[in-house]
Symmetry: C2
């Protein structure tokens, strides 16, 4: 048996070969080598993925030999998984990780510690503080600040909501909602992520407690689609809820919605809510879900346009694992310490389990361990972070962000954000230039010279094959009809979207998702996300040509029944 340090060295050397091969451009031309259903994919693995009684370690003659079995498995995994590392993966709001991020994840696995108490994770704890500090500065929150990393945007949003409830109504922590009878209500845009609704359900508020705010009818495209929350509507709905005897307590604004990456107008919403606070005589927590668009704060130009007023909100979620490309998971919740102090996360969520968080009482004059010696704080930060969360231990995700930030710098983050916004603009203009496409958020005459959609990170587009163009001429009436889900126009567009998506996926050169907007009854459309920093103009043109090529093959078999088909190449 070789020593573990020899084994890891051997494995890493072999992984270097494997990943070099994996990364080669020619192999990257297909994002997913062949999309297979489970019944066909499973048999490609030994014994159809049955986990063995006897491990490779026992079966093989040596650990090095067993390691080869594992590396064989790794190659099979890589071969049949989606290559998110390719810039052609534009399917989800995350993209691939880079080499630095991958190494950072390896380091975290070697450290294999938990960021619950400083004593076992001194460096990781300080790096978490450093990241929270730097992010708070970028947002414009006061420092010393308050924040904590969580395993994903949904978890950060849930933590924001529990922190708000436990801070505003501390008694509820003990007596619970049923005994208190207080009807807390939550407000969020119709286009917001479902984690807000899920959080309200988890917290026992119930989905009925979530009030959906319409987006501004003056939004891009004039249809309300892709607009931000209407502050007047927000104010009215909060007042209406309070008038019913409910307690409005949590407003979620979205910075970059999931489907169309819309940004709610923060400053206007904050003004509306803060005015109501005075009127109602109690505080209301304003959270910004920046799970997708949060990193836009790094771009001076775009922060000014899309995040005006951000320093006035109570908390914000950011996911460096999306457009910053830090490996998943990497999400953080920042709380405005100007409004709630530095210890609000601990006060709201803490239980001070004394088997874990040791007090600093000590025999007089004796030395103590570091976390005790300086008390519980350093430099304005709390040292033992576990009790600030709704859990206990956490993976040291901040170490990844720290390492990647050291490599890319704040300037690198800003460039990455600027490029993403620019790429969306370029792609949208390509779609706008062609009759084969209709943008979900069109360029209006006034906005033609502006950046697409006021600054966005996704593009949604319907495909309009020749048959539709010939039959419907100007198409505007057809597009209007399609908003009725029972219309053949709606069914046609939806099925064309799926048909194009299936063919795009089968060809495998790009991986892109499709979706609709249910609250508006919009038929499904293709949605392109551009989080990878390796997307360039040439690739966007290639994508456009790929889609155009597929759309040109779409035939309509029956307009009334909405039957569509694809011509052979």
């Amino acid at each position: 048996m070789v020593n573990d340090e020899a084994l890891i060295a051997h494995l890493l050397t072999r992984m270097a070969e494997i990943l070099q091969r994996y990364g080669r451009e020619e192999e990257n031309l297909k994002v997913l080598s062949k999309p297979l259903p489970a019944s066909q994919l499973r048999p490609l693995f030994d014994q159809h993925m049955a986990l063995p009684e006897q491990g490779a370690k026992d079966k093989a003659g040596s650990d090095t030999e067993a390691a080869e079995d594992i590396l064989g498995l790794v190659e099979t995994i890589l071969q049949h998984s989606a290559r998110t590392v390719s810039p052609r993966f534009m399917d989800k709001l995350y993209a691939g990780s880079d080499a630095i991020g991958q190494i950072a994840e390896l380091v975290i696995a070697v450290l294999n510690t938990n960021v619950h108490v400083y004593s076992v994770s001194p460096v990781a704890t300080l790096m978490e503080h450093a990241c929270i500090h730097a992010l708070s500065e970028a947002v414009g929150f006061a420092t010393p600040c308050s924040g904590v990393f969580s395993p994903g945007g949904s978890a950060s949003n849930l933590l924001a909501m529990t922190t708000a409830r436990n801070t505003l109504f501390p008694d509820l922590k003990r007596v619970g909602a049923a005994r208190s009878g207080q009807l807390l209500t939550v407000f969020t845009s119709v286009e917001a992520h479902y984690s807000i609704q899920k959080s309200a359900i988890v917290m026992g508020l119930g989905s009925d407690s979530v009030v959906a705010i319409p987006v501004n009818a003056a939004g891009y495209g004039g249809s309300g689609v892709g607009g931000g929350i209407d502050p007047v509507e927000l104010r009215n709905l909060i007042q209406q809820s309070a008038g019913l005897g409910e307690t409005p307590f949590f407003i979620n604004l979205t910075a970059g919605t999931t489907v169309l990456s819309s940004f709610d107008p923060i400053q206007e919403c904050v003004a509306a809510v803060r005015a109501l606070e005075a009127e109602l005589g109690r505080k209301i927590w304003i959270h910004v879900d920046g799970s997708y668009g949060g990193p836009v704060i790094f771009s001076k130009k775009w922060k000014e346009r899309l995040f005006r007023g951000i320093e006035l909100v109570d908390s914000i979620t950011l996911n460096p694992h999306k457009i910053l490309g830090v490996p998943q998971q990497c999400s953080v919740l920042l709380v405005n310490s100007d409004r709630w102090g530095r210890k609000v996360l601990w006060e709201a969520n803490g239980l001070r389990a004394d088997y874990l968080f040791h007090d600093s009482e000590m025999s007089p004059g004796l030395p103590t361990t570091p976390s005790v010696r300086e008390g519980e704080e350093d430099n304005g930060f709390m040292m033992d972070m576990g009790d600030a969360t709704i859990g206990c231990g956490r993976k040291a995700d901040a170490v990844k962000l720290f390492i990647c930030w050291t490599f890319h710098g704040t300037q690198g983050w800003a460039r990455r954000v600027d490029k993403a916004l620019e790429n969306v603009d370029t792609l949208a203009r390509l779609f706008a230039s062609s009759k084969q496409f209709q943008l979900v958020i069109p360029f209006s005459k006034e906005s033609q010279d502006e950046v697409y959609g006021g600054g966005r990170l996704t593009v949604g587009v319907w495909c309009i094959p020749q048959a539709l163009q010939s039959r419907y001429g100007q198409l505007q009436e057809f597009m209007n009809q399609s908003k009725n889900p029972k219309s053949s126009a709606h069914v046609l567009l939806k099925r064309i979207t799926k048909l194009v998506h299936v063919e795009l996926t089968r060809r495998g050169r790009f991986m892109i998702d499709f979706m609709g907007l249910k609250w508006q009854d919009l038929p499904d459309f293709i949605r392109v996300a551009v989080s990878s920093d390796r997307i360039d103009n040439a690739l966007l043109h290639e994508l456009f040509n790929e889609l155009e090529g597929i759309v040109s093959r779409v035939e309509v078999v029956d307009f009334e029944q909405g039957i569509v088909s694809l011509r052979e190449e």
Copy 2:
């Protein structure tokens, strides 16, 4: 600029050198090179850990040069962090990861996908299914089974509690607790992990809803300390709660408590609760928090003793990142499909966000993408896993477990568990043989020939320096007095524990935690956890000698005031 594949290959080759050095035994003699407070640790990093405007990538002449800066940072991180990879790290319930686990984490970072929908994570989804299937078989749950990976034991326990509530009272999902007015109650042992209480608070039940069940007075040591839940008390307290008009709905049994790794008697508790179900005319959810002890199911012998009746409960949390050594985070919740069907997690927690989870409606006769083609299921499993959780995307943690399981095999897991239990027994006997120590759970005369404490994964011990031995003779009266937190005996033991802990930490050869048991007013003691599979007899003797050496240097300056000090070496 080098290509990313060249950069990762370069970095991995260099990491192979770095980790080989890191793993060398002589460097491993100190678990933490020097425990430093934040104010002294921070300056050891460039610019005191300020994150740079200009990244290493921009500052350096080439990516390879910038990579060297990052590797320098990595070496500094490794140098000042706790070496959990050393078997001398016995501080927390987790231990170090091994080379296979570290490589698996690297692979997950390269895949960088989310296990929310099958289409972007086909292999990871199938591996998650394979792990859930194999774990369910090991537990004894029916298959096809139901389960999902979560970011840690607290998250799995919270998911169990929301799943129970939403399944038993589906209306609450919509109307919420305040409108329903139903007073749900939760039952758990006084020695249980605080995540049960935190979950109840998050869910709006309030900490008042959590009823603490005493542990059995007939437990090891005859004191109740380290015993399991008393099934008669459990039954009485549930009846009492129901009698008050409350709705008992969630029983948490612990398999391996945090402090003393006690196992609640599952079969007896299940019998008591199921009898009450008939009496009360409604179902009650029985969850087992096996965050620590769960993997004991892999040992036939120990499963029979510590998990009797497990196949009858409703759900169980297991954390392969603790005694199985899979890198953090790796936690899973399994639900008994015999009781609730295969889809219970989706039904309880799902919202079917249609921008993410596409339905299978399609134009007649057309091909569709794999996840759609087979409908939503394969082989009895649901394919799109995101909606089974309270979040959305999740890191593909199951891939780690799959890879590690392939290497170690079920037999390897069983050996690891057996060895941990054996190591605890060996260490406890060493402590029992010396006058300088008092086990928190002593060997009773009847249990002398048994495995320590009926089978445990931790040892708790008080240090009894010579001065105490001389002054108190048989010590029994002193130990009894120490249960009064105002007694000098209590203060003395607590301070001696801290003194020994500080010296142990300063010497750096072992890293071990200390804690008390507040519900019993026990003074703090040293608690040793033995999750690493690299702990052998020689190391346990070394630990014993190390502790004995420190204890022999403890002097009592003032018995009444509880002032203690340490003689120079």
